[in-house]
Structures are given as structure tokens and as C-alpha cells.
Amino acid sequence: MNESTLFTVTFILYIVAAFFYLAMLFTKKEKWAKTGRALAIAGLVSHTAALLMRTFQSGHAPFTNMYESLSFLSWGMVLAYVLIDRKSNIPRIGPYLMLIVVGLVALASSPLMPKEATPLVPALQSYWLWLHVSVTLLGEAFFAVAFVTSILYLTADTEEKKNKMDAASYRCVAVGFPLFTLGGLVFGMVWAYKAWGTYWSWDPKEVWSLITWLVFALYLHTRIVMGWKGKRSAIITIVGFLAALFTYFGVNYLLSGLHSYV
């Protein structure tokens, strides 16, 4: 079995998982969520295998172009969801998250994204590629789960559901924010210093990471010191996720700068 077959198998598993989760949503029967979760985990396993195979075949980290990094991000999102689900046990996150994952995997599989593994350009030949990109994308994956729980907070109808979603959002930010800070900003600065001799150049991608960081710093201060919870926290989380999304995706297509790889 090669990487693209495994990737297709993963895609199918995620679609079927999303289908079962949606069945849970419409029939209100929690048993479908169990099937959905099992399929999502199966998808995660085959996705892991696909990423490993990609790494062995290309000889470098599996996130050096948009196809690879979308694949890795969606892998991180499923992983983050499975971990949060174990702690929070909110099956309602499943359908929405899996739909986003299916969307991302579909985007990665689309002809828009060149799939061939190309050798690394000199700037990317560093072990910091592994540390910087994987940790940042994992942080962003947790932000994505926080985004889903925040939307669900805003649309929840009972106080109990709202409290659960608020707690789950905080849990995601508590994992995502340190990862994003370490991977995106700290490792990014170390790598920039090693490659370019300057740890900070006010490049658009750097500035947008800083903006994302400022939004989540705002989230923590308003929440912990000023006691903002619930609606306002949810809105700040959504803004923070959108900033992270723009850092990851938008900067490359809309703004020009040094960081023109992925």
C-alpha cells in the first residue's frame, strides 16, 4: 500500500465518520457518535501511517508544501479532538469538527495542491523544520477545536451545554496557546536566527503570529483576571482562531514576505 492509497483510505474513513456523527446529530442517538469516534480513530491511524510513509519516501518532514501541511493539520485536528473528547466527552463536537477535517482533506486532495514530493530548498534543510512546523500546526489544531466548541457555545440552548463547551474551549486553548507560542514564536525565532541571522524581521507571517498571540493573551487576561467567561470568551476564541487561520493560510496568498514556503 502506498501513501496516496492510505491517504484515500483516510479520506473515506473521515467521510464515513462525519456521516455517523451527523446521524447522531439528526437522530439524537448517542450510539452513532460511538461509531463515528471509532471511525475517526481508525482514520487517524491510517492517516498516521500515510504521514510516516510520506516521510520515508520523501526523506524529509511531511509538511513542506501546502498538500503536506494541510494533511498534517487535519491529522492534528483529529488527534486534538480525540484527546479533548476523552477529557470532556462532548460528542456534539464530532460532526462539526469532522466536517471541517473532511473539507481540509478534500482541499489537500484537490488538483489545486501539487502533491509530488520535491527535494528541500536550502532554506528548509534544518531539523528546526520538524520542531517549528509540527508544534505550530498542533497548536493551531487545538485552536481549531476551540473554534468549534466556541461556535457550539454560542448556539447551545441550555446552560449545562454552554458550561461544557466553555470548559472544553478553555481546555483547548490551554494546550493550543503554549504549543503555538513554543512552536510558532520561540522555535520560529530560533530558526530565523540560525538561517537568516535575525530572530525577528517584522515579516507578515511573523507579525500575524504575534497578532494571534496577542488575541489569545487577551483571552486569558479577560477570562482569568476580569472573569469574562462564556459569550465574550467564545467570541475572542473565534477571533483568535481566525487570526491563526490567516497566519497559516491567508498570509501566503494575500501578503508577500520572506516566509514564502508554506
Partner: protein
Amino acid sequence: MKSAWKFFASVKLAIVLLILLAVASVIGTLIPQGRTPAEYAARYGQLAGVFTGLQLTSLYHSGWYLALLFFFALNTIVCTVSRLPAKWRRAFSPKVEAEPSGLLAFKVKSRFGKNVSVAEARAKLEALLASRHYRVKSHSAGKRLCVLAQKRKFGHFGSDAVHLGLLVVIAGGIVSGLAGFRTRLELSEGQTAPVPRAPFEIRLDRFETEYYPQGMVKAWKSTVTVVEGGAGVLTQAILVNKPLTYKGFSFYQTSYGSDWNNPKLEVTIKKKNDPSFSRTVTLNVGERAAVDDKDVSQISVKRFVPDFVIGDGGQIETRSEEPNNPAAQVEGWKGAEQIFSGWIFAKYPDFEQMHAGKPTDLSFVLQSYRGSEYSVIEAARDPGVWLIWIGCLLVTSGFFLAFYWPPFEIRVVIEECRERTDVTAGGHAAKSRESFQAEFDDLMDSLRRSA
């Protein structure tokens, strides 16, 4: 003074500053930074003046952005310092005495009676707390014993470590800005250049570009020698991601380029009437090359430009240093007599402009042109960088403490009261309340059930 302190001790100010910094930073990514006035005028028309006036075109180095950062730093210092003494007391020299009624006001609490002596209850409690890694302090007064148990005290200081780390990073940025310097060195093979402010020179021994089998660039590699007092002291290859560091200076492979002052050219001479005739000569600018033909004995190249353009005054210029339209001015000689002169274009071989003294059937093709390659090495010294790494370490460990090292605190009052012993306990955890509640209930359960 007091009101200024109060102003900067406010978290509301921090929130306002976070929002202002975020919004300002967004603006700086929407307006391209550090371009020429002409580019701004072309892009924004009348608004260009407003943008430049507000320093939006060099936003991150503008006075007002730096002022925002300064206020942010001041706010962080005052906020952290003003909250630190109370936290410190709470963690390291807390009051052990407590009233049972006070403990019952805690969110996490328990109260029960036991038929054992105060001393027995105490021994049991302390053993239980120790098994859960709590540090215990106690105070006994008459028939009452107060116990304070704490664990993961350093978790109180997570946010302080993050704040301190940020300040150290900002300090590092200031040091880098004031004392750091960087400069570009353009070196051809064999060339030695002094490094500004350094007591040594650097020589480029070799510059190579390595390619993958698919034809993509694999590496740019400059082999350099550090020359000190006329003698080479260290030879090392510099690659992208592999800088050379020597005596506080670092050298980075940043770019490369071609020097078009004296390129190596290849010119092919053909005859329109004799398609079988073809002769190729290799020469530099200003050099004559022998053709040894009856019609033309020698050719020379008078001038070469990498990007041919005719300027406003009709003069020939180069538009850029990129080989976009390489052209050479060739001259043909028959003995000492110049028989023609004209420009030939590598990308437009059919478009030759000859000014021949007599009509000629010769034609010329600029086959290849190769400027001597030079390597661009950036030399930098940044004494602020260590502060940056220390700050990053503090921020990272602060995050760990703040999110994953929650301090737990349990207070217990054991009192002898009419032939039995009353136990009242209250607990507090600012974070991880669920796991704290579970641990607290478990501890109290074990204590109640113990004989």
C-alpha cells in the same frame, strides 16, 4: 505618582494595549513596509502623504508603535510587581491559623467528627497528605490544631515568569536594536574583505551551487577562511542554515549574484552565403580573439550589458543587474582595420544591429555569457540574542507552570470537642478545580474512615 502607579497597575490598561498593539500590527501587514515614496505614491495616490506622515509605512519602527510597546512593558512591570508580594506571602509564608467557620466558607470543604485523639488524627492526616506530596505546616494552640498543606507552590508564579520572560525579550530587542549590527559582504572567489568592527577579515575560498538530479538547487556553499593578522585561522563551509560563528560574529549564506563587469562571453560567427561556416570564440570584454578567416581576422567585445535598454537620451544602459536582455557590442577587424561594429542580443539572435563600414555577409550570435559569481554573506553581531533566548525559556516555563502546575492548598482545623475530635477542612485551587475536588474528597474520605 500614586495615581500613575494605579493607572499602570490596571489590567484594563493591559487589555486596551493588547488590542491597540494587535490592530496596529494588522495595519502594518496591510500596508507594505519600507518601500520607496514613488511606490507609495503609485499605490495610494493622495493618501500616500497621510500614510507616510503617520509613519504607517515604517510602522514597527515608528515612535508611536515603540511607545505602545513601552507602555505595554511598563504596564506588565507594574501589574506583576503590584501583585507579587501577596502571592509570595501566600506561597512561602502563609498564615497557618484558621477558624473552622472560615474554612466552611470555602467552595471545597468537609466537616466530620472522629473518636480518636487530636494527636492520632493529626498523625493520620499528615501521613495522608505526605503520600499526596503535600508540604505540611501546623500550628497548635490549646485544644486546637491548625494544619496547612500546600503543593506545587511554584504554580502561583507561572504568569509572573511569562511576564518577566516578555520583558527580557523586549530588553533583548532593545539591546539588539542599539548594539547589534549587520552588514552584507559581497565576495568573489579569492577575495578577502574586512569585517566591520571585527579584528579579523574573511576570505571566500570557493563558492559552489549544488544541484539535485532534478535540477533544483540543493545548496549554496561558501567555503571561507577567517584571516587574522594576515594568517588564516579557521576554514569552514557556510551554508543556508549552517552559519559560521567566530568571536561573537556570525556569517550567513544569504544570497549570491553574478558580476557583469567582466563576463566570459561566447560568440559564434556565421556567414550568410556559406551556411557550413561556423566558428565560436570565447573572450572577455576588451579582449581580442582570433578568428583567422580571410574576411575577418579578429573580433573583440567593446562592451557588455546584462539588461539592454536605450535610455531617454538615446544612450545604451542596463536596466538592472539581472541578465534579462544580455547584449554585447562586438567589433570585427581585418588586420588593423575595423570592418564593423554592432550590438548582438543573446535572447534575440536575429536582431543584430550592425554598422558595417562595407556591406558584410557575416553574422554574430551571442551564444553564452557568464558573469563571475559572487557570494553574498551577511555578517552580524547581536549581543541581544542571549536575552531573547532566556526570555523565551522563561515564557515557555511560565506557560508550563501556569497551565500544568496548579497549586493546591488544603487547610484543616482539628479540635477536641466534648470527648471527640472535630475535623473541619477547606481547600482552594484556582485551576484544575475538578481534579482538586476529587483529590480533596479522596483525602477526607480516607481520613474519616481511618480508625
